[in-house]
Symmetry: C2
Subunit: 260 residues, 2 copies
């Protein structure tokens, strides 16, 4: 397919490289940031363009890979009413770009992407949505050339998926950071926890997390829970509240499971 | 070394197998659960014993690997005042077994262990504490035969490490479970999140988690945060409280960092 990328950040970079590697023709990179557009264009043999008026008219798909809050503004300058315009955002409804073309869609790769770190798209789920069945079909085919896990996900589901990813990844990383700070406060290295963190995530690859929950909350080991709360008294109040809330939540979920 | 294990659960099983593989002589397995003791004893060529009175007197170390709430009761029946008695619990102070022998210690492998799943101890940190320097030395040497990451950790530090592990692993797994339930409620597979979970944990192997925090909280993307909260209105109230608390905590931590 002939592809035009609108954007030059992490997502645009990783997609351009993956499309090029899959044999597609990445024709143009448009960006408000011309140096970044030129750099990426050079990488994939594309043309860097600074104005929407310079866009080729005959690309199969125009992929808008800009920050969430810029999507509407950039889409509103898209010049072709009859060309397929697609955004890549997990937290943005398809409706946000519908006004700007008669065929619109979403191409949402579910992974943390960075410019520096190369990534194998094969294993990355790609959530696809199209303004009609034909669009969905084109985007599924495009996604299948870089990923084995392309799947239709509508805007409502995608928002749920995005919130779920915040819990499973952003919040999880913050819990790592809390643990790191506690260890550092007591002169211990975060290395002590790294193998356990890796094993916990690895277990989630093969099991349902709810069924392999361990720890004092899951065992209802009140003695240990109280000793932990005593220790957390010395830290800021939020850690106690967080410990209690997560402990209660673990116990509620296991009760719900056993009542089924 | 000649080793006696008191216990027949996950910890006793994994330790007995690791010690045997490292060339130690696992002489006896004592347990209140004789069938389990016999099964484990057969695996490592040891003798299963049902009574503390049958324990060999000449082992280098007696490792108490029973559940936290049984440690005191079992230790109180240990018959040798001059033999090295060691527990394996993260949440238990050395003081709990001090009354029962003149040389006591802690041998705490920091990993989730299960009977079924074999484990390579080499990469697992082992926290060592001894009632005196000689004990610490023996236990460090023993730990070094199965792990490259043996380190001295006193009872105070070990309790902090244990709480930190609850945050980084038990609570993290619960966040996976919350995400799993949200996806399932909206007819999506947890497979969609598995690569992202793996990548998040992998990143924590190489970076300081606080420095690689991503997501709407870290970006202070108020629009997305509000859309997430709107969606969570439909779920139970605790999810909103949890989302708000973790979001605030991420923003506080990043403020603390930037003020330094």
């Amino acid at each position: 397919m002939k592809i035009v990328l609108l954007g030059s950040g992490n997502m645009a970079t990783r997609l351009a490289i993956a499309f090029k590697a899959a044999g597609h023709h990445v024709a143009q990179i448009w960006s408000r940031n011309m140096p970044a557009a030129s750099e990426l264009a050079a990488k994939v043999g594309a043309e860097a363009v600074a104005s929407m008026n310079e866009l080729n008219q005959d690309a199969t798909v125009y992929i808008l890979a800009v920050s969430d809050d810029a999507i509407s503004a950039v889409a509103s300058t898209f010049p072709f009413k009859e060309r397929l315009l697609v955004h890549t955002s997990g937290a943005t409804s398809l409706d946000q770009i519908r006004p700007f073309s008669n065929c619109t869609g979403v191409f949402y790769p579910l992974q943390t992407l960075s410019k520096q770190k190369s990534v194998d798209f094969l294993d990355i789920p790609v959530g696809i949505e199209g303004s009609d069945a034909e669009v969905s079909d084109i985007l599924l085919k495009l996604a299948a050339t870089i990923s084995e896990k392309a799947t239709l996900i509508d805007s409502g589901q995608r928002m749920v998926l995005h919130v779920a990813a915040v819990f499973a990844c952003n919040f999880t990383n913050h819990l790592y950071a809390i643990a790191e700070k506690m260890l550092s406060d007591y002169h211990m290295s975060f290395d002590l926890l790294r193998p356990l963190i890796e094993e916990t995530a690895r277990k989630a690859q093969f099991f349902s997390p709810a069924t392999v929950q361990t720890g004092p909350a899951a065992r209802n080991d009140v003695g240990t829970i109280n000793r932990h709360l005593d220790l957390l008294q010395k830290e800021d109040g939020r850690l106690i509240a967080m410990y209690e809330m997560l402990t209660d939540s673990i116990q509620d979920l296991s009760r719900q499971k056993s009542e089924r």
